[in-house]
Symmetry: C2
Subunit: 470 residues, 2 copies
């Protein structure tokens, strides 16, 4: 699932590349910024994910024989195809650390490469980063409300085809504990978890018999699904019988699972029945169309649920479905570039840049990132990107530079971390963010500003462009 | 991208399989129904897609050495792993033809296999069919409003990671003409299409120079993106200059593309400028957050747009993100099975079944599918699945059986069709559906009923289950 051809791209990248090639511009340098414009889920932050996958994919990106044959059949020219035969990405990438919290309109990642290489990787870069960042952010929001509960990814069956594979990875970065997805568990070294399906219970004439067989077959991590016929009259009583039988063999039922009906009510009634039978150690797992809002509500109602299985809404990043990340040219052949747009909010930022996070003495974020030129070591005063009279003095803050070189000459420079390490890092970073940015309704808006030099550079380019249109 | 391990499944499938194996039930037969409960996009129909991919994947599904090692590390037992080493799907599959229009709560596909094989393929079956059906339906809705306009899939960058690959396939089935996605175009034999990016224009000092180079590089299918600086003052005039230069070399500019601002206004103004310059053959392409509603509105405003590039909303199936398809046990070891639920609407249908589409003498759908037992050759009277007093006499209609055997002993029985053929078939089937089912607002509800025998069989099982709970 991690094997990508360089044809995993949009056709226009190759069309443009051929023109650059023919026009003698193949060695022109380019700098592109990756950023998004709008936070997903109307939230106050996003969790950046997908970087390690992307770097691995990029470092291995090649056109094979069949790719070149296909491109030839599409009218691409031999000389250009010979160039593609030798294609590999030899550029540099600067990036925020995977798992860090990120905000709109400021560079999360910068690509510095020749223009052809930089274009060819655009599509896969957007494809992998947009989606994993979306799902990691969703997972993080669910983790925020779920406290210490165990969170399981159950989404593969409703995922957008093989996108589910990457969704699982991102879910772990955002704070999930385990997944039902076997291939993702295997390849990404994620704890795997599962219970039983209704079909198992149905395949027996008798629920109790089904539970007994399942418990015998998997005594070490047995979770019984109790809602196939009638949760409180049949499922839970039968689970209690089996739990007692396990006790007589010095084994323990791990949990029961509720998958329908009013989860708060059924969890409370099931808990009562279990406790009355002396089974206070048996946990309650719940699933069925969960998301951060349902889980928050269940816990506010003090539903005694220990384990949440989350599927569709997690792995599809519902209700957003996509992060609007873009990849914009900031420099070409050494010259700073902007795109003027009908909307001022879409005007891009020229030049190679650095992003600084403002922190107070205790290490807490004060709620501002400043964008400067790459050679600036700090930003003394930051300006609102679109409202010229708004500015903020930053001299009293500690400034953390966020973009680090992660790839050079196409080689990965950073050590591989486990998903648990990335997830722990993400939690730490999130803990530095004040709670006002984490609430679901109207979260406080994190400030993004630009340095005076960057502002002036952009202004010069805007004026030059206006001049031309006269 | 078409290579799947049998570990592309949920862990509980293997957990249950091991229990079946240990309990001597590995050769027990099972029949599962695939269906969904709710139409996507609040629409009146769905387009079934993903079948050929699924059959190919299933016929090749195996556990390799590394899979078995991983499962061993997860505590699966040696005897069972030996069984998995020889695993291949040897069952039968009955299905509606790919591209047909389908409706909620009735079987679209039935799997008949031993219980272990039937469980192991569940996850990938749901994963591939749910998503492709979602996107093919979205594409079909867009095609319905777009008339003869050219429809291009531009979605890969915002797709849910590699899900975008399958989204492209489904988009073509639903009625799209071409894609920007090179690898999908190559592997699925889809026309590939692309234009140019803003970065290309920005990388030049001068827009006109950029247009000239691009047109020289790709004279045969040149589309110029005109909104980088100023659409009407700069982009379109420069495109006109280049079109005239192409004419002097007996070449033709194919189109201009608009990607921002008010598309209706800019299309009309651009058309005027192009026509005034004698370039009435130059087409206008538009992109930027399009979906069926935006395209419908643009065409109602008579925006002269010939080509629509649709991205995010198509490939993520926005706003739904997932089809709620399920896989439910209908027979186990020869015995009919149901799942009783807290909600009557979720009670499943027992037995191996057939689905009949009712048609009038002209071949038009009358808006009803009836579900009978598999051996019933027609359904004389169909009953509402949940409201016992509602029924409908079907004797006067032509009845078309929809489920056909497409796999036997794990071998594919149907001939591979091109996506164009599947798409044409889909269009034909859709043309048999009256317009009331196709409108976007409150579409007419297609009737689904069950035969008297099926109703009685289900009732017997419900009563037996109730009896047990007493």
């Amino acid at each position: 699932m991690n094997n990508f051809s360089a044809t995993y791209t949009d056709q226009y990248q190759l069309a443009m590349a051929q023109v650059y090639f023919k026009k003698g511009q193949k060695d022109h340098s380019a700098i592109f910024d990756y950023y998004f414009r709008k936070l997903p889920f109307d939230g106050g932050y996003a969790v950046f994910a997908g970087l390690e996958d992307l770097l691995e994919v990029i470092s291995n990106l090649r056109f094979d024989e069949s790719d070149l044959e296909f491109l030839q059949s599409q009218g691409f020219e031999d000389e250009f195809l010979n160039y593609l035969k030798e294609f590999r990405f030899k550029g540099k990438i600067y990036s925020v650390a995977e798992g860090d919290i990120v905000f709109p309109t400021r560079p999360i990642l910068q690509v510095e490469a020749n223009i052809i290489e930089a274009q060819i990787i655009e599509t896969i870069l957007l494809n992998l980063l947009n989606f994993q960042t979306l799902v990691a952010t969703k997972a993080s929001r669910i983790r925020l409300v779920a406290g210490d509960a165990t969170l399981l990814d159950f989404g593969l069956r409703r995922a957008q085809a093989t996108g589910g594979y990457f969704a699982t990875r991102a879910a772990i970065i955002g704070g999930f504990d385990a997944t039902s997805n076997v291939i993702a568990a295997k390849n990404f070294n994620i704890p795997v978890s599962g219970t039983m399906a209704h079909s198992f219970v149905q395949s027996y004439d008798d629920e109790l018999e089904a539970f007994r067989d399942f418990a015998q077959g998997r005594p070490e991590d047995c979770v019984l699904l109790v809602d196939t016929y009638n949760t409180l009259k049949s499922g839970v009583p039968n689970a209690i019988t089996v739990a007692k039988e396990l006790e007589s063999r010095r084994q323990k039922l791990l949990a029961i699972r509720l998958d329908s009906g009013d989860l708060s009510y059924f969890a409370k009634e099931s808990r009562k029945q279990l406790d009355a039978a002396g089974l206070d150690y048996v946990k309650i797992a719940a699933s069925n169309q969960l998301d951060e809002y349902v889980i928050k509500s269940l816990l506010e109602q003090q539903a005694p649920i220990d384990i949440f299985g989350v599927g569709t809404n997690l792995v599809t990043g519902d209700p957003d479905g996509a992060l609007d990340g873009v990849y914009k040219l900031a420099c070409s052949n050494g010259k700073p570039r902007i795109k003027i747009s009908e909307s001022i909010f879409k005007v891009t930022l020229p030049h190679k840049k650095q992003v600084f996070r403002m922190k107070d003495e205790s290490g807490k974020c004060i709620g501002a990132d400043a964008i400067g030129l790459y050679h600036e070591s700090t930003v003394e005063e930051m300006f609102h990107p679109f409202e010229p009279y708004k500015s903020m003095n930053l001299e009293k803050f500690n400034q953390e530079a966020l973009l680090h070189k992660v790839m050079e000459n196409g080689e990965i420079l950073i050590d591989k971390r486990s998903l648990k390490e990335i997830s722990d890092y993400s939690m730490t970073r999130l803990s530095e963010l004040p709670i006002e940015y984490k609430r679901f309704n109207n979260p406080h808006i994190y400030k993004i500003g630009i340095s005076e030099t960057l502002r002036d550079e952009r202004e010069k380019l805007i004026q030059a462009s206006k001049q031309k249109l006269k």
